[in-house]
């Protein structure tokens, strides 16, 4: 209805919500077309890929047929052609690379590459006191990936080598001279300067970022955890099982049927102190007793042992330390928290946190900047300096100290109790909701100064006559803020808000130094706490639980979350799309 028939003038007449609605509508209406476009693009990409491979091979063959003998030798001895034609530097480099590659692959890489399919089959065994080490899955995966990297690099270099020969022949035929080694060196500081500048950073990123990330993406498809830790144990490929665990695992319910015959048909629900964990559907005297013990001991450990006949033995250590045990199936339903439930909870909190951490800081920081920069306010520099202290002082000092301030035996609770305002310490770090609010609050303390600095710089750029004319028109402070300051700020700092939001999703320091994710949630699996973000949970999985497979899956999911947010938001911010506009 709207949209097609509308011109720019019509658009400008719309009110803010209408504009937004129109944008959203366009976005969703455009989705199918865009998806189709993406599919088409993908298809074309494949077509082009095969076309490229075809012409690549064709090129290689024709070069070989038409080339002279130097070129032909270069197909097997890299760099020979260059050397024979006097470009010794290029030739030597090609040759050295080929030699290193061959040595690496044949003496080292090939062995690992061949085991990549199984990640090793020979187990480590102990013979008496001697440990005979078998395959190391970790190394196989790591060096396997590294070898693939090498092979790709080799194919590319080999292709460059062949192309070099072709070009050289062409140049020589046309009677021109080839570049000498000296020219090559000189061009590295001139036309090819980008190669010089990018060489080391690219190498660093490849080895220390790309290789590890690909490794970890692959780990997400294995069963690498504390039960399968090399060099003692092997791990292997398990397909998408880990993704299922994290995204779609049902709550574990184990049914028990007590073999005792004196059953009374009274339903009994056992609620543990911190949430509902155990339910008993029918109860007899023995089960009720056990259940009571369970309730008492719900905070402590209980273990389930599967018996050979398919029943379970259920052991609870009561507070007195005695062990209550019974055997059965289908009577007791024990619910243990699942990873998928935990993941949803943690993801939800992560998004809530990122939202508040970004936007509360944004608006409050802007407000503070406006206050400090207001005409007639003195000591601007002093206020700014005081606030900036939180940026300057390393976070592990300030946040650790503040975290201790809010502890049950900390300064704030102590003072409040001394003054007689409270009789019990406030549960800043022990109650989930309190902890979440406290963290968001302390993050404001950390975050306002950044925003204050950024906003100050931008506020200065807003033309003063805009405010002047607004004042003449009789707008009050709030109106000028809503009509001038805010739109301008939002327009200019749109990209910043986006990076800040994804940055907050990955804001490790604040959570880790303040609460370490605590308090632990009894309904959460994998040691997750109620204030854990995805990133801190990932850290716990890696360092505390050695549950690398799930940590890897989480890493991928964090990536997906960030990527989706980025993609959606980029569609609404025109200013980041075209980088050349800024230049």
């Amino acid at each position: 209805m709207v949209g097609e028939s509308m011109n720019d003038l019509d658009y400008l007449r719309l009110s803010k919500p209408q504009k937004f609605a129109l944008k959203m509508k366009k976005f969703f209406a455009g989705l199918p077309a865009r998806l189709l476009g993406a599919l088409k693009g993908l298809l074309m990409w494949f077509v082009n890929l095969f076309k490229g491979i075809g012409s690549f091979i064709c090129d290689l063959v024709t070069t070989y047929i038409h080339g002279d003998w130097k070129t032909k030798v270069s197909y097997t001895v890299m760099g020979f052609g260059s050397m024979a034609r006097g470009q010794w530097l290029r030739g030597i480099l090609f040759f050295v690379f080929q030699t290193v590659f061959n040595l690496y692959v044949w003496f080292f890489g090939a062995g690992y590459l061949s085991k990549l399919g199984t990640l090793g089959t020979v187990e480590t065994v102990k013979k008496g006191r001697v440990t005979v080490y078998g395959d190391n899955s970790f190394l196989i995966l790591l060096y396997g990936v590294l070898t693939i990297f090498f092979v790709v690099a080799f194919i590319y270099t080999w292709y460059v080598n062949v192309k070099q020969n072709k070009m050289s022949e062409k140049i020589l035929k046309s009677g021109k001279k080839l570049k000498s080694a000296k020219d090559d060196m000189a061009s590295l500081l001139d036309n090819q300067f980008h190669k010089t500048l990018l060489a080391i950073p690219t190498l660093g990123v490849t080895v220390f970022t790309i290789l590890p990330i690909i490794f970890m993406i692959l780990v997400a498809f294995t069963n690498y955890d504390n039960q399968h830790q090399p060099p003692g144990k092997l791990f292997t490929w398990v397909g998408t099982a880990n993704f299922e665990t994290l995204l779609a695992s049902p709550d574990n319910k184990v049914n028990f049927d007590v073999t005792s015959t004196t059953a009374e048909s009274a339903a009994l629900t056992i609620t543990a102190k911190n949430g509902d964990i155990l339910t008993v559907n029918t109860a007899d005297v023995a089960a009720a007793e056990a259940a009571e013990a369970l309730t008492a001991a719900a905070d402590t450990e209980f273990t389930m042992v599967e018996q050979a006949d398919g029943t379970y033995q259920f052991e609870v250590f009561s507070e007195a330390g005695e062990s209550v045990s019974f055997v059965g199936k289908d009577l007791l339903t024990v619910k243990t928290p699942s990873f998928s439930y935990t993941f949803k909870q943690v993801l939800l909190w992560t998004l809530i946190w990122a939202f508040f951490a970004t936007f509360l800081n944004y608006f409050l920081g802007m407000l503070v900047a406006i206050m400090i920069n207001k005409k007639g306010i003195k000591f601007k520099k002093l206020w700014r300096t005081i606030l900036v202290m939180t940026i300057a002082i390393p976070q592990f000092i300030s946040l650790l100290y503040v975290s201790k301030m809010f502890a049950a035996d900390g300064l704030i609770n102590g003072m409040l109790m001394n003054w007689g305002w409270i009789s019990q310490p406030l549960p800043f770090w022990t109650d989930p909701t309190w902890a979440r609010v406290t963290i968001i609050g302390i993050n404001i303390w950390i975050g306002i100064p950044y925003l204050m600095l950024i906003a100050t710089g931008i506020l200065m750029n807003i033309p003063a006559d805009l405010y002047e004319s607004a004042r003449i028109d009789g707008a009050n402070a709030f109106q000028t803020y809503m009509k001038i300051t805010l739109p301008y700020m939002l327009f200019v700092t749109g990209p910043y808000l986006l990076t800040s939001f994804t940055g907050n999703i990955n804001n490790f320091n604040v959570i880790f130094l303040l609460s370490q994710g605590k308090p632990l949630g009894l309904d959460l699996a994998g040691n997750a706490g109620t204030t854990d973000l995805l990133i801190t949970w990932l850290y716990k999985m890696t360092v505390t639980d050695s549950n690398y497979k799930l940590a890897a899956v989480m890493g991928i999911l964090v990536f997906v979350v960030c990527a989706v947010i980025n993609l959606v938001v980029y569609n609404f911010i025109p200013s980041v799309k075209n980088e050349e506009d800024f230049q």
Binding site: L142, N191, F193, H194, L197, L198, I200, P201, T202, G204, V205, V207, T209, I210, L211, M216, M371, I377, T385, I386, V388, M389, A392, I393, P394, F396, I397, S398, L400, Y401, M405, G410, L411, G414, M415, M417, W445, Y450, L453, I454, T456, D473, G474, A477, V492, T493, G494, P495, F508, N509, F512, I535, Y539, G555, V558, F559, A563, S575, F582, Q583
Partner: protein, 369 residues
């Protein structure tokens, strides 16, 4: 809407304009009140930290702020066992060579700064005293660091470790970031867009995901536990080129015509980079150095993972964190405060001195994304 308003309405507003002065004063007073309260909130933790570092009573945080018993014991504890000897500069041949080389480079640098000729008629002095002082300061710092023997003193050892990492990072990361950002801003070559997209995608993976792999890579090179300091330098510098956004944004604002005219005059790309762009990029260079230098002081996660169980290669963050969270919290809390104060002072002073450049960096970065 301005044009909708008629004269009558303007006239109605007039009395309000007259009382504006009083209104303004009230607004300002409330702003002052808010700012004062905020200042108190912002400063309190730091004031408490300093006060508690002088506290004589042991134990964790207590319900009062002013110590009942003032003492310097906490600071004394931090420096227990540290030794200082100039002999370390000349103890064996490599040490002598290192001493001679670093000092020679430093002195040459100072001489070069002092005898610099003015580039344009607007510069008043011919020497650059500030630059010479800076070189002298760094030189002094390096020499002093080498003379300190901290084998028996945890805190000084940790401080030295962190300082070493920070100094190396400041140099190497800056070079990496500047080369990447300059290249991506200024040169157009095949694969440029690809590199930028790959970096964008890589940046969306959480950093701690790859911790175990990095640990293993370092272990292969013998750079964990005892070698954690060079290991941390390597890891934090290797991928630092990915943080090019802010300085690229800065380079984008320098007109391209400058490069082109220099190229027409026969300068190579390298000369353009070194002689034309770098002198103009001083703010962003200082910003990058500042960020690279400050980073290692707060690095806890990876540092603790790499140096695990080897006390001599902790950095301050790991060491102090362990004092309060793993070790005996009651016994070490006041020492943690003292250590925190000693770490915070140099960083804060440095940051405050270079605040101008920091603000330029973050503002530019926020605007350009």
């Amino acid at each position: 809407m301005a044009n909708d308003m008629n004269i009558q309405e303007v006239a109605e507003k007039a009395p309000r304009l007259r009382s504006k002065k009083g209104h303004e004063r009230r607004v300002n007073a409330s702003i002052y009140a808010i700012l004062i309260v905020m200042s108190i909130i912002w400063l309190c933790p730091f004031v408490f930290l300093v006060l508690q570092s002088f506290r004589g009573e042991s134990g964790g945080q207590v319900a009062y702020v002013i110590p009942k018993q003032w003492t310097l014991d906490n600071y004394r504890f931090l420096f227990e066992g540290v030794a200082f000897s100039l002999k370390a500069l000349v103890k064996d041949v490599p040490a002598i060579i290192l001493t001679v080389v670093t000092n020679a480079i430093g002195v040459l640098g100072m001489v070069k700064f002092l005898t610099r000729k003015p580039k344009n008629p607007f510069e008043k002095t011919s020497g650059n005293i500030k630059g010479a002082l800076l070189v002298f300061g760094v030189l002094l710092l390096i020499n002093v660091m080498r003379c300190v023997d901290s084998t028996n003193c945890d805190f000084v050892q940790w401080f030295m470790n962190t300082l070493t990492i920070a100094l190396f990072c400041a140099v190497i990361q800056t070079i990496m970031v500047l080369s990447v950002s300059y290249t991506l801003s200024r040169m157009r070559f095949k694969g440029r867009k690809l590199i930028m997209n790959v970096v964008l995608v890589l940046g969306m993976f959480p950093g701690f995901l790859t911790m175990i792999v990095l640990y293993y890579l370092l272990k292969m090179m013998g750079l964990t536990q005892a070698g954690a300091v060079p290991g941390l330098i390597l890891i934090s510098c290797a991928s630092s080129g990915m943080g090019y956004y802010i300085s690229k944004g800065f380079f984008d604002t320098i007109p391209k015509s400058l490069d082109e005219s220099a190229r027409i005059d026969g300068a190579t790309r390298f000369q353009v980079f070194l002689k034309i762009i770098m002198p103009m990029a001083k703010p962003i260079v200082i910003y990058t150095i500042l960020m690279a230098f400050m980073g290692p002081w707060g690095d806890y996660v990876f540092a603790s993972y790499v140096a695990f169980g080897h006390k001599a290669s902790y950095n301050v963050a790991v060491g102090l964190y362990r004092w309060v969270n793993t070790n005996d919290y009651q016994g070490y809390f006041t020492r943690f405060c003292a250590g925190g104060v000693l770490v915070a002072i140099p960083i804060t002073v440095l940051f405050m001195a270079l605040q101008k450049y920091y603000v330029e960096g973050v503002t530019g970065g926020a605007v350009k994304g």
